[in-house]
């Protein structure tokens, strides 16, 4: 690992003022420290922000809840208010990694996870995300784990988070603090970006911006929810394909749907059109199958990941079915 100086930020102001272009904020470190060991990330200063005061879960003005960015993933997923109101979020978060890692990882850090594309991790390989201009090894290489939606010539990596897939289905908002002391709020679907010509940028944060809290809308999917995660072993693996499905059902009709997929794009892939399609429909197999066909029709797989298209369709049907059949 390359040398770096360490600053334990006592407050938000100190964190923001200490930031330089070559600094990194440190949350739980579960991804960042690993990438530093691999020489993929090379900050010359780490600013620890895990101890800042954003560690609560509180009610907000939208009738929902606000999650502290520095609260751990396990404390968030297990918080009684989150389990009761947003069980879809709890389920997605608890499908991720392991108890040890969830105890370390922060909510803000979860959003900033980097891809697990093996070409990104291996410094002897080309990777436009790690080293812009060096090429993409995966496009014509081993691409079983890669994107089928929204990729570019420069990068076909996927976003690894489970939490973010649920947040995309739930229309969350991310509040960030800028270095000049002001703050701004970003819609969750605008937070992560597609690779385009700048795959080195995973999200729309400006240098030095610090995620402080995540706002959730009033709960809609607390009765009908399911997070389906398909992976190469039954626990402790990243998703090949995952589906966050939430349904609000009144008098036998879907009044609100949330549907997003993980493991298939550079960002959590939200099916906005399909959500609209499901609203007003009956929750049955025919409609779920039609939704799945509609969702996957734009998929353009590579040699190694053709399986994701069919898997994606079945996963959507299964997740929606499980969400519907759950005893309210």
């Amino acid at each position: 690992m390359r040398p770096f100086s360490y600053t334990n930020a006592k407050n938000k102001e100190q964190a923001l003022q200490t930031f330089t272009k070559t600094s990194h904020y440190l949350g739980g470190g579960t991804n960042l420290v690993d990438l530093m060991k691999e020489d993929v990330e090379r900050p010359d200063q780490l600013i620890e922000v895990a101890n800042l005061e954003y560690k609560n879960i509180t009610k907000n003005n939208e009738g929902g809840y606000t999650l502290g960015g520095m609260l751990s993933n396990s404390e968030t997923a297990n918080h009684p208010d989150i389990r009761k109101n947003y069980p879809l979020l709890s389920m997605a978060m608890l499908s991720a990694a392991t108890a040890q890692i969830r105890n370390m990882a922060t909510n803000a850090g979860n959003l900033l996870q980097r891809t697990r594309c093996p070409y990104f991790f291996e410094t002897s390989m080309p990777c436009n995300k790690r080293e812009p201009g060096s090429g993409c090894g995966a496009k014509d290489g081993m691409n079983a784990l890669h994107a089928i939606f929204g990729y570019s010539d420069k990068c076909i990596a996927t976003h690894p988070s489970d939490m973010c897939v649920a947040l995309a289905a739930m229309n969350a908002k991310v509040e960030v603090q800028k270095t000049d002391g002001s703050s701004r709020t970003i819609d969750f679907t605008d937070f992560h970006r597609l690779p385009g010509n700048q795959p080195e940028k995973d999200n729309t944060l400006e240098p030095g911006e610090l995620i402080t809290v995540i706002h959730l809308d009033e709960p809609k999917f607390s009765d009908h929810y399911y997070y389906l995660k398909i992976r190469e072993r039954s626990s402790y693996a990243f998703a090949l394909v995952s589906v966050a499905a939430g349904l609000q059902i009144k008098r036998g009709v879907i009044t609100k749907a949330g549907l997003a997929m993980g493991g298939v794009a550079h960002k959590p892939w939200k099916f906005t059109k399909v959500e609209k399609y499901l609203e007003g429909k009956k929750p049955n197999k025919v409609n779920f199958k039609a939704a799945a066909e509609m969702a996957m029709q734009d998929a353009k797989p590579f040699e190694g990941n053709k399986y994701k298209v069919e898997m994606g369709k079945k996963a959507i049907v299964r997740a929606l079915t499980q969400a519907f059949e759950r005893e309210a």
Partner: protein, 266 residues
């Protein structure tokens, strides 16, 4: 002058190429500290060269002769590490993981380095009662936190019930993952008491405490600790005995043809 002579006189240490000088300037070493650093580096390479001439006795105990704190550190951080009710102030390179601080500086070698990348769980310790991976935790972030390692589980010379159970049920073969497995198990006992959920929990909205975990639950919740020898059944058995008093051997069976068919068609 041969290599050894040069090293003894320290006469080669000031003759750096332009590139080398640039590197040392970049990492902030110059003047006396540069000379000291280079001497230490030479000493380190000598010890590798000489290791084949040393007896195993000498090699087994070098840590004890180390000074408490090294003379020169890059990006030094001072940390009060509270480990197993003992407090020690260490001066550390900011890069030092909690795992390396425990093993290399406090000689607490019970915690094991497996993959060093957060993929195996061998380095699991408890930080403020929560199980965490010491390989991905920077020691610098542990100021005033309570760290419990495998060495801190026994009380008054009596093993922790989980340690007893692992012995009784052969919850290991080679034993390398065992300290991590046991620390993880001890933390899981608390998590079950607190009613924490897992991905296989059926109803997330139903928040209860004092959970009695099924085998499926135990396996999911212990998935962060890999056992290359495959002693999983025995590990589950050991955990169950302490958790619920049930020490029956875990059972499993192959799926029937009918179950396979059903899975394919669903």
């Amino acid at each position: 002058m041969d290599e050894m002579e040069k090293w003894k006189n320290g006469s080669d240490t000031d003759q750096l190429s332009k590139d080398e000088e640039k590197i040392f300037d970049e990492i902030g070493l110059n003047g006396t500290s540069r000379r000291k650093f280079l001497k230490q580096m030479s000493a380190a390479s000598l010890s590798i060269w000489a290791s084949s001439y040393l007896t195993s006795d000498l090699l087994a105990s070098p840590a004890r002769t180390l000074p408490d704190n090294p003379e020169i550190l890059l990006n030094e951080v001072r940390v009060n590490l509270r480990v197993n009710d003992m407090v020690k102030q260490l001066a550390l390179d900011s890069r030092t993981s909690l795992l390396d601080a425990l093993r290399e500086r406090l000689q607490l070698t019970g915690t094991k380095k497996g993959c060093d990348h957060g993929q195996c769980g061998a380095c699991t310790v408890m930080v403020d009662g929560k199980r965490k991976l010491s390989c991905l935790t920077l020691a610098a972030t542990c100021e005033d936190k309570e760290i419990t390692t495998i060495e801190g589980l026994a009380e008054n010379g009596n093993l922790h019930p989980m340690q007893e159970a692992f012995l009784k049920h052969d919850g290991f073969q080679c034993g390398y993952c065992t300290p991590g497995q046991i620390c993880s198990s001890v933390a899981l006992l608390e998590e079950a008491k607190n009613g924490e959920a897992s991905y296989v929990t059926e109803d997330f909205k139903d928040v209860k405490t004092d959970l009695k975990l099924s085998e499926e639950e135990i396996r999911e919740r212990m998935s962060g600790n890999i056992c290359r020898c495959g002693a999983y059944n025995n590990i589950v058995q050991a955990f169950k005995e302490v958790h619920s008093g049930d020490d029956e051997m875990p059972t499993w069976e192959f799926a029937t043809a009918k179950q396979m068919e059903k899975a394919k068609n669903s």
